[in-house]
Amino acid sequence: MDIIAYLIPAALALGALGLVAFIWSVKAGQFDDPDGAAYRILLDNDEDWPLS
């Protein structure tokens, strides 16, 4: 059972990684325009990618 001493922290660390990624994406404005994001992936003009 000693193995859980490694597994639990590992599981928590992975979860925390996902959480950090989620918080970053919220702060970076990834959820600001859900409707537009669905279409932007279909626009094939790469030079039109926003500069900011």
Partner: protein
């Protein structure tokens, strides 16, 4: 979202109006500059699909000085970053030329605040979700290994769960705790009081259990409860922000400028800077933003948005032009008789406030549910606590039962019941081209039994249309050549009827009378009966243009304000749905009567002033009717705010849109659909509350008899939330 019903004439008329507004807005006044970098926020209307994004962004990037342009499709915000060489007016012109409505947005602190609140809720939700998943991981091991797991291992697992739960509860739950605290401070009760109590009680009990090596810890339940509640809060905040964005877009329409005449020349200034007595120039096509008295020039004034009168009126020196009227003739000069803050517009705004206040006293279904729920859970938990003490249980056991009662009767389902249903309905309305301004508007829309229509611009197009006659048809070509030189609505209608063609040369426009031109030595006139010399006895009843070529007999072109496409069908559908219908118009009685017959509405009132319209609404409300008012004019605004629920078309004046619950752009045919969506949403909400109540009927006996294990609590909470959500999504 691509299926939004567009392409209706209403959109066209809306764009026509905004194009005219654009003409007189100086966008440079709204550019913010910092360290040589210019920023401009525009509000774009009509962008609905991916094609719009690339079309608009690409067109703007080719403009001088623009370094970045990004269109947010969800709220129509267009953020532009540029350097010094950039001209805001050119950029705005590019967007209108593509066929979209555009207006300037001034920076707003409230919008930023709401956005911050929404993303805070989203982060809180994510944190709670993370914790719920990880604690559940540990809890499942505890439940699954109940017979094999050693007591110490279990204690360690509980300990880790508690260590995860504590910071998460503090972080994600502070929204609820501060709300509960402020309610208690004011000696009130809200839903957050039992929620906070349940969370901290359950947490406290679990800590005790963990320390004493007990079997049951409720850390997972605490965090899961928070997670579900935050989903509901987030959806609610999102809906509110959308509604707020719609209101802000409307406010952006009002960001207009006025041409002030001073001895040093003409300056463009913001409307609020005008003081009474200052001279103002009203250019052709401009909508006045201030009440003025004409001091120089004279022109035809379209007051259809102010009074509902469909025919333009001639305003000469000394006459008053109210804000909201459109100058369709020559340029006029006027003296401001009031500042923007106390114009006719502002008077109507004051009348609106009375209505808004009444509406805010409306009690939502969710509030009813909460007021029944809160005392119920508190009494149940307290009684359970007391009963267990009386039959001889220890204090720890009694507290455990009370805590599990609070947790299992958790308001998850209750908190999700209304927001999920409203979110689904708002999404359906958006696809219909309608914008919901508040969540409780759906409940009010679902309750109406009587519908009052405005005529001009709502039932009708608000634009005259030529009625073809054989005699007039022979002269249509020649008359249209003259008509193309004028922007009078009848001239435009005539030119539209004739299609594209030549424009006559040397056309003189005599305001209030008509047009004149010469070919060879022959004089051609187009205008009023007096202007062409047609006899009084030939005068018609509706709008008429007379045309006379040389000494030939004058020919009359008659016009009518045509009904909206689909008006008749919409009216038929609405009466089939069981609503009583009536028309309440400020227009002449024969025009109203004709329209009432045409679309099939038996009751009508004509020549009603804004006060009379408001009075009629009061009267109907006094009779116990729940009235839906549909109107677009300035003269309807007060009536709209007094109605139980109100709809305004997308082409309506901003103040009417602001006092409506839903702004629709798909034409009259969407009204029955909007009402159906509202009724379905209300039904879903009631079903959801019934489901939540039914769930409690089962859960409470289990809880008070002390049979709730953490496993049962977890299952019960998720199942009830899931059922409520699925029931709402079923209507998508």
């Amino acid at each position: 979202m691509t299926n939004a019903v567009l392409g209706d004439t209403h959109i066209a008329s809306h764009q026509r109006r905004t194009a005219e507004v654009l003409h007189h807005t100086n966008f440079d006044a709204f550019v913010r500059e910092k360290n040589g970098v210019k920023k401009l926020d525009l509000s774009v209307r009509g962008a609905k699909c991916g094609g719009c994004i690339s079309k608009i962004e690409r067109a703007i990037r080719t403009q001088n000085g623009v370094t970045s342009a990004r269109l947010n499709l969800s709220n129509g915000e267009l953020n532009i970053i540029a350097d010094d060489t950039f001209s805001a007016n050119d950029v705005a012109r590019v967007v209108t030329d593509l066929g979209y409505g555009v207006s300037a947005q001034s920076a707003s602190k409230a919008a930023a605040h709401q956005k911050a609140e929404e993303s805070h809720l989203l982060v809180a939700m994510g944190v709670a979700g993370f914790a719920a998943a990880n604690i559940m991981l540990l809890s499942v091991s505890v439940w699954g290994g109940a017979t094999e797991m050693g007591e110490q291992t279990r204690q360690v697992f509980h300990g880790i769960s508690g260590l995860i739960a504590f910071p998460v509860i503090v972080f994600s739950g502070r929204h609820f705790f501060s709300s509960a605290w402020s309610a208690l401070k004011h000696r009130n009760m809200n839903m957050d009081v039992p929620v906070s109590l349940a969370i901290w009680l359950a947490f406290g009990v679990s800590v005790w259990e963990t320390i004493s090596g007990g079997q049951h810890a409720y850390f997972d339940a605490c965090v899961m409860l928070l997670f579900f509640l935050l989903i509901g809060r987030f959806l609610d905040a999102r809906l509110r922000r959308r509604a707020f964005a719609a209101a802000r877009e409307l406010a952006a329409l009002r960001n207009r400028t006025v041409s002030r005449i001073t001895p040093r020349g003409i300056h463009t200034v913001q409307t609020d800077d005008i003081k009474p007595g200052e001279r103002i120039l009203v250019a052709p096509g401009e909508q006045t933003a201030i009440d003025i008295e004409v001091v120089a020039g004279g022109s035809e004034i379209d007051e259809s948005l102010v009074t509902g009168e469909s025919l333009p009126r001639f305003a000469g020196i000394g006459s008053t032009v109210y804000s909201g009227s459109v100058n369709i003739g020559a340029a006029i000069e006027g003296v401001a008789i009031s500042a923007a803050a106390d114009s006719l517009l502002a008077d109507i705004t004051n009348m609106l406030e009375a209505g808004e206040q009444r509406r805010s006293t409306y009690r939502k279904i969710a509030d009813h549910a909460v007021s029944l729920y809160v005392p119920f859970v508190h009494t149940t938990a307290l009684l359970a606590f007391a009963a267990w003490l009386i039959i001889g249980a220890s204090i720890e056991d009694a507290v455990l039962v009370a805590a599990s009662t609070l947790i299992i009767t958790c308001p998850c389902a209750l908190a999700l019941a209304a927001p999920v249903a409203q979110m689904v309905a708002a999404g359906r309305l958006f696809k219909l081209g309608a914008f919901l301004k508040s969540g409780d508007a759906l409940e009010r829309l679902a309750a109406i039994d009587h519908i009052v229509f405005d005529k001009t611009g709502t039932l009708t197009l608000g634009m005259p249309k030529w009625i073809p006659t054989s005699k007039a048809r022979d002269n249509l070509h020649d008359a249209a050549e003259m008509a193309r030189a004028s922007r009078h609505p009848l001239s435009r209608a005539l030119a539209a009827a004739a299609g594209p063609g030549k424009t006559a040369k040397g056309v003189e426009e005599h305001a209030g009378k008509g047009l004149r031109t010469w070919t060879n030595t022959q004089e051609h006139r187009l205008g009023s009966a007096d202007w062409v010399g047609a006899g009084e006895h030939l005068k018609q009843d509706g709008p008429v243009l007379w045309y006379r070529s040389g000494d030939a007999h004058p020919v009359a072109f008659e016009f009518e304000d045509a009904p909206q496409i689909g008006a008749e069908k919409a009216v038929k559908e609405l009466s089939a749905m069981g609503f009583e219908l009536e028309i309440l118009s400020g227009d002449r009685s024969n025009a109203v009567e004709k329209m009432a017959c045409l679309v099939g509405i038996p009751h009508w009132t004509s020549a009603a002033s804004p006060q009379e319209k408001a009075g009629r609404l009061e009267h109907l409300a006094g009779k116990g009717k729940r009235v839906l008012m549909i109107g677009d004019g300035l003269n309807d605004a007060a009536a709209l705010s007094l109605a139980h629920a109100a709809l305004a078309p997308g082409g309506a004046v901003d103040i009417s849109q602001a006092s409506a619950d839903v702004v629709f752009s798909g034409g009259l045919k969407t009204i029955p659909q909007i009402l159906a969506v509202a009724q379905a949403a209300k039904q879903t909400m009631l079903q959801n509350f019934a489901l939540a109540a039914a769930y409690n009927l089962v859960a409470v006996p289990i809880a008070v008899t002390g049979n709730v294990t953490p496993l049962i609590a977890a299952i019960a909470m998720s199942v009830s939330s899931l059922i409520v959500t699925l029931n709402a999504i079923r209507r998508r």
